[in-house]
């Protein structure tokens, strides 16, 4: 099992998730973050930390979201690890409000 970042994260990039990960397994590109399934220890700490509910345990993903397991695996291998919080992308606050959070 692992935890997976889904498309809710796109264009938001509050990196609250990164600050609570005990093993630094978040990776990042211009769009969003990805969890490295090889390093994730399933602590679940990032789930409540994400203000937009983008992170889910793999076993709870609905069928149409299952593809994110593979995307996280692939993109985590291709992108750099991120070890501390970034400034949110412009528009992140509006997106958070639009999502009603």
């Amino acid at each position: 099992m692992t935890y997976v970042v889904t498309d809710q994260c796109t264009g938001c990039r509050y990196t609250e998730c990164v600050t609570v990960c005990p093993v630094e397994c978040f990776h990042l590109d211009d769009e969003m973050t990805y969890i490295d399934p090889e390093n994730c220890i399933d602590c679940g700490g990032c789930v409540p930390a994400c203000p937009v509910g983008a992170i889910q345990p793999a076993y709870l993903l609905p069928p149409e979201q299952q593809k994110w397991i593979e995307i996280n695996r692939r993109r985590a291998a291709e992108t750099p690890v991120i070890t501390s919080r970034l400034a949110p992308l412009p528009g992140a606050d509006q997106r958070k409000m639009a999502l009603g959070r």
């Binding site: 600050t19 609570v20 990960c21 005990p22 093993v23 630094e24 220890i41 399933d42 602590c43 679940g44 700490g45 990032c46 789930v47 409540p48 509910g53 345990p57 709870l60 501390s84």
Partner: protein
């Protein structure tokens, strides 16, 4: 000109102590960190709290080992601050001291009969099955058929799960041998997990609850009479995690009892007293479920009770204590706070903010404390250049050996070897003497 590096002492080698060391050593400043730990073994509650059947979480120790390998890091094991060395002595030998001592004391419940035999702190049971040297001589009476766990958090779930798992489900974990043997003889068939709130008000995390649906010889259940009106309606502001947990409990309420054991989730029960002669025989509760017009008295017969009501930090001599929060008194990690602060003294982890969050929460917490420390560092008085090294040498000389990280590596290797023969990831040494003997396998006498 030689510039002496800043010397920082951290007290407690649990997650928050390691993360504080990492945050300091990553600054690029010329500084060195001594991590003091009362036991010869590191990792705090990752070794002695996290349940043995959650091995994946324990992989976080690989991160701590990487931190231990950073230049400027030193592990000083077997030294209890406040006993073997005073906090003032430490403050005089270092620029700054960070307390990361955790929360080792269980909270009492404050009810009549609390002192009866058979009533235990969950933290003692956890320490016992995890082989903590302080807990190895405890005994628990598993001869009855029913146990009661009071408190609705994840530690209570760990306690209940360990009580209902089969020996085969535990055999290949790093559970202490004495615990595996005693639990294999257990006659407990029914565990009541009791809390004051309803299904929507627990602190269970969904992942931990979900495991109860997958146990080999135990069914989860809910006592219908406890529930009251609309028990499984999530509050409107519930996050997805909470909704999931409530949904799981609702699922449990439809389960039949088919397997050998049962774990009953009980709600809206307020403990009133413990009854029995020298040994507890039953626990009295008042039930106040929403929508019921009157409060009911209710008894659960049991000879084994675990209190899982949270933890607080052990006070340290010469360190101000916040009795209400159960932590070293601090404002944002500065001990004592803004006006009556103790200069150069800081806190992080559970001894700063109390027992909440996951392992990684301590990382953000330690970073925050280290930010404060770095802001103050220039204004703190400098100890003598050799003060820290002299102190550590003297402590080790007094012990007659050097319990550093290499000593831990020797203990670790010996534990893994012992475990291999039993098909376990490790068989822990459960006494400090045995740990030291294993460490002596290497040449660490000084």
């Amino acid at each position: 000109m030689t510039t002496s590096p800043y010397r920082i002492a951290i007290v407690g080698a649990g997650p928050s102590g390691f993360y504080a060391a990492e945050a300091l050593l990553r600054t690029g400043q010329d500084l060195a960190v001594d991590l003091f730990e009362r036991l010869p073994v590191p990792y705090g509650l990752v070794r002695f709290g996290v349940a043995p059947d959650h091995p994946k979480l324990k992989q976080v120790t690989a991160v701590f080992d990487r931190i231990a390998a950073m230049p400027g890091f030193r592990f000083v094991g077997g030294v209890e601050v406040g006993v073997d060395v005073g906090i003032e002595t430490l403050r005089n030998a270092y620029h700054a001291v960070i307390l990361a001592t955790g929360a080792s004391l269980g909270r009492k419940i404050g009810l009549p009969g609390e002192g009866l035999a058979g009533i235990h702190q969950a933290s003692d049971f956890v320490g016992w099955y995890n082989g903590h040297p302080d807990c190895r001589d405890l005994t628990f009476d598993f001869r009855g058929e029913r146990a009661v766990v009071i408190g609705h958090g994840n530690v209570a779930l760990d306690v209940a799960r360990l009580l209902v798992k089969t020996p085969d489900e535990l055999r290949h974990t790093d559970i202490a041998r004495h615990a595996l043997e005693a639990l294999a003889e257990s006659r407990i068939r029914e565990v009541h997990l009791v809390g004051r709130s309803g299904p929507a008000g627990t602190r269970f995390s969904a992942k931990e609850l979900q495991e109860f649906g997958t146990l080999e010889n135990c069914d989860p259940g809910v006592e219908p009479g406890d529930l009251g009106r609309d028990p499984f309606d999530p509050p409107h502001d519930a996050d997805p995690e909470r909704r999931m947990a409530i949904g799981l409990l609702e699922g449990f309420s439809h389960r039949m009892w088919e397997k050998g054991k049962r774990c009953l989730f009980r709600f809206h029960l307020h403990p009133a007293s413990f009854e029995g002669y020298d040994h507890v025989g039953r626990v009295m509760f008042r039930r106040m479920a929403p929508g019921e017009d009157m409060e009911r008295e209710l008894a659960i017969d049991t000879g084994l009770v675990f209190l899982s009501l949270g933890r607080r930090s052990a006070p340290l001599a010469d360190v101000p204590y916040d009795g209400a929060r159960g932590v070293h008194a601090n404002v944002g990690g500065r001990v004592g706070g803004e006006e009556h602060g103790v200069p150069g003294l800081y806190a992080c982890g559970w001894s700063k903010r109390g027992p909440q969050g996951t392992i990684g929460t301590n990382r953000a917490c330690a970073l925050d404390t280290v930010d404060k420390l770095l802001a103050d560092l220039g204004s703190l008085p400098s100890p003598g250049a050799d003060a820290a090294d002299d102190l550590v040498s003297a402590l080790w000389k007094r012990q007659g050996l050097r319990l550093d990280f290499d000593a831990w590596r020797a203990i670790d290797a010996a534990e893994v070897t012992r475990g291999r023969a039993l098909g376990k990831p490790r068989e822990k040494f459960v006494s400090v003497e045995a740990m030291i003997d294993a460490a002596r396998g290497r040449d660490i006498a000084c």
